[in-house]
C-alpha cells in the first residue's frame, strides 16, 4: 500500500512541480536578487542555501498538508476507498500510507531544493563551511519536522472534511497555526530552549494526530 502511494504521488504533476519546477524557480528568483543582498556574505548576505531554506520553510508544510488532505477528500468522494476497505486489510493502513507517502515526497522536494541551493553556492565559490553544514542540517531537520506535522494535520482534516474547500480552509486557517504548537512551551518558558526537545514534541504530536485520523477513518462510514 505504501509503495503504491509513493508511486502515485511520485507520478503526480504536483510532485514534478515540487521536485523540479519549484527548485528551478527558487534558483531563478535567487539569481535575480540584487547583488547587495546576495554577495554581502558574512555580513548579512543571503546565500542560495539560506534563500531556498526560507522559501521551503514557508511553503513545504502548507503544500504537504494540502496535498494529503485534498487527496484524501477527493479519493473518498470518488469512492476509491470502498474498494480498499472491503478487502481483508486494516483501514488504518490507508491513512498511514498516505501520510508517509506525502511526507517522503515533500521531504525529497526539500532535500532537492536545499541540495540545489548548496550546489549554486558552491558554483559561485561560496560553498558552506563545516559549522555551516551543521546549521543547515538542523534547519533541514526542523523543516522535515514541520512537514511531518503539517502532513499529520492534513491527514486529520482530510479525514474530517467532506469537501475539498472545507479541508483547504481548515488547513489554511487552523493547520498553519497548529505547526507552531511544538514551539509554544519553549516560547512560554515552560520548557528549556532545546532543539531536540522541540523535535520530540513535533514527532509526538505528529504521531498522535495520525493516530487520531486513523481512528476516525476506522469508524467512518464510507
Amino acid at each position: 500500500m505504501l509503495r503504491d502511494e509513493l508511486i502515485g504521488f511520485a507520478k503526480s504533476k504536483v510532485m514534478i512541480v515540487l521536485w523540479v519546477v519549484l527548485p528551478l524557480i527558487a534558483m531563478a528568483g535567487y539569481l535575480l536578487l540584487p547583488k547587495e543582498i546576495t554577495e554581502a556574505r558574512g555580513l548579512g548576505g543571503l546565500s542560495a542555501t539560506a534563500f531556498v531554506g526560507f522559501l521551503m520553510s514557508s511553503v513545504a508544510g502548507t503544500v504537504a498538508a494540502l496535498m494529503v488532505a485534498v487527496d484524501l477528500v477527493s479519493e473518498r468522494n470518488r469512492k476509491v476507498y470502498e474498494l480498499f476497505v472491503i478487502r481483508p486489510m486494516r483501514r488504518e493502513v490507508i491513512i498511514w500510507s498516505k501520510f508517509l507517502a506525502v511526507f517522503a515526497c515533500v521531504t525529497v522536494a526539500c532535500l532537492v531544493s536545499l541540495g540545489l541551493g548548496i550546489a549554486v553556492d558552491a558554483f559561485r565559490g561560496n560553498a558552506p563551511r563545516g559549522d555551516e553544514y551543521y546549521d543547515i542540517g538542523k534547519s533541514l531537520l526542523s523543516l522535515i519536522g514541520v512537514v511531518a506535522l503539517s502532513c499529520s494535520v492534513g491527514v486529520v482534516f482530510g479525514v474530517m472534511s467532506r469537501t475539498i474547500l472545507v479541508a483547504v480552509i481548515l488547513i489554511l486557517y487552523v493547520g498553519q497555526n497548529l505547526t507552531i504548537v511544538p514551539m509554544l512551551p519553549v516560547y512560554l518558558g515552560w520548557l528549556p530552549d532545546h532543539f531536540w526537545l522541540v523535535m520530540l514534541i513535533t514527532a509526538t504530536m505528529t504521531g498522535l494526530l495520525v493516530l487520531a485520523a486513523s481512528v476516525m477513518f476506522r469508524r467512518a462510514e464510507l
Binding site: 503504491d4 502515485g8 503526480s12 469512492k79 474498494l83 472491503i86 478487502r87 486489510m89 469508524r219 464510507l222
Partner: protein, 312 residues
C-alpha cells in the same frame, strides 16, 4: 443447504430516518439471490453493511459464520463486492488498479498474472489494460468494477446494481458469469432494477420495502402465492372488424396496435377464452398471428406489489 449469509434483526438509521427496520434474511450457500425493491428501500445499505462499509448498526450480520463487524477480516476474505459506482485511483492504469486490488485480496502474483488478462479479455477490455483508469468510459469502469470483485474468486459475490450502465452483450456476459460462478459453488447476492435480468438468473428473490423484507422466495413460488391474474395475449395479423368482443372475455387492453392482453377474472380457465377469441376473430374477418397464455414474470409480480400497496 447451509446459510452463507445470515442477517438478523438489522436496524439502521441515518439521523432520524430508519433505513433498515429489523431486517432478517438468509442466503443459502450456492444460490443466486436477487434483491429488489423501490428506490430508497435500503438495498444499497444492506449490501454496504455486508461489505463492511457501514459498521454502525443494530443486529447481527454473519458471512460464512463470521460477524462482519467483529471478525471483519475473516468475513471479507470470502466476499467480492462491486459497489454501485466504482472509483479507482485516477493515476493508475487498468492493469495496475486490478493488480493492486487483487494483491490486497491476497491473490498470489502468479495467479494475478493469469486471471487479470483472462478477465479483461472476457470483458473486452484487454486492449485498454495500459490505459489510465480515468480515460475509461462509464460502462468500461463498470466492467472494471465487476472484474475487481471476481479477481479473488470469492465464495460470496455481492453486486450492487451490476447491470446498470452495461450494454446488452455485457449484461448477457455478466449473467453468464453469474451462472458459471454458481456452478463453481459461489453464492451471488445482487440488487437490480432490471427485473427481467433478475428473473433470468436469480434462484430466489427478496423484495425489500421500507427497510424490511416484504417477501422472499423463488419467483415461481411468489407468483403462485400472490395469485397473480392470468393473461391471454392476442396478436392480430388482421384485426377483426369489431374487436370489442375481447372485453367480454376479460379486462382487455390494447398494448400496441393489433396486440391485446386480456386479464382473466379469478377462476376463469384460459383454454375456453382462447377458443372463443379464435372463433370470434375468424368470424369477424380477422387473422391471428399469435395467441396464448402469458405466464406472469417478475415484472408482473413487482407491478402487482406496487398496485396492491405492498410496496411503495
Amino acid at each position: 443447504m447451509a446459510a452463507l449469509v445470515q442477517i438478523e434483526n438489522v436496524r439502521k438509521k441515518f439521523y432520524a430516518q430508519v433505513v433498515l427496520d429489523n431486517l432478517s434474511l438468509e442466503i443459502r450457500e450456492g444460490e443466486v439471490f436477487g434483491y429488489i425493491g423501490p428506490n430508497g428501500a435500503g438495498k444499497t445499505t444492506t449490501l454496504k453493511i455486508l461489505a463492511g462499509l457501514i459498521t454502525k448498526f443494530e443486529g447481527t450480520v454473519r458471512v460464512a459464520g463470521n460477524d462482519v463487524v467483529k471478525d471483519r477480516s475473516k468475513a471479507h476474505a470470502v466476499i467480492g463486492f462491486m459497489p454501485q459506482s466504482c472509483g479507482f485511483q485516477s493515476w493508475r492504469t487498468v492493469q495496475s488498479a486490478l493488480d493492486s486490488l487483487a494483491e490486497l485480496s491476497g491473490v498470489p502474483e502468479a495467479l494475478r498474472k493469469q486471471r487479470i488478462p483472462a478477465l479483461l479479455e472476457r470483458f473486452k477490455l484487454l486492449d485498454a489494460r495500459f490505459k489510465k483508469v480515468k480515460e475509461l468510459s462509464g460502462g468500461m469502469t463498470q466492467k472494471l468494477g465487476l472484474i475487481q470483485a471476481l479477481l479473488h474468486e470469492p465464495k460470496l459475490l455481492v453486486l450492487d446494481e451490476p447491470l446498470e450502465g452495461l450494454d446488452p452483450p455485457s449484461r448477457n456476459l455478466l449473467k453468464e458469469i453469474i451462472r458459471e460462478r454458481q456452478h463453481a459453488g459461489t453464492t451471488v447476492l445482487f440488487s437490480s432494477h432490471i427485473l427481467s435480468d433478475v428473473d433470468d438468473v436469480a434462484d430466489r428473490i427478496g423484495i425489500l420495502n421500507r427497510g424490511t423484507i416484504a417477501t422472499s422466495g423463488s419467483i415461481r413460488e411468489l407468483v403462485t402465492d400472490f395469485g397473480l391474474p392470468l393473461e391471454v395475449e392476442v396478436d392480430f395479423a388482421t384485426t377483426p372488424a369489431d374487436p370489442g368482443f375481447l372485453a367480454e372475455l376479460g379486462t382487455a387492453t390494447e398494448r400496441r396496435p393489433g396486440e391485446w392482453r386480456i386479464r382473466l377474472a379469478d377462476g376463469t380457465a384460459s383454454d375456453p377464452v382462447i377458443h372463443t377469441a379464435i372463433e370470434r376473430t375468424l368470424a369477424g374477418g380477422g387473422k391471428i398471428r399469435k395467441i396464448g397464455l402469458v405466464k406472469p414474470d417478475l415484472d408482473d409480480l413487482f407491478a402487482q406489489y406496487i398496485e396492491r400497496g405492498h410496496v411503495n
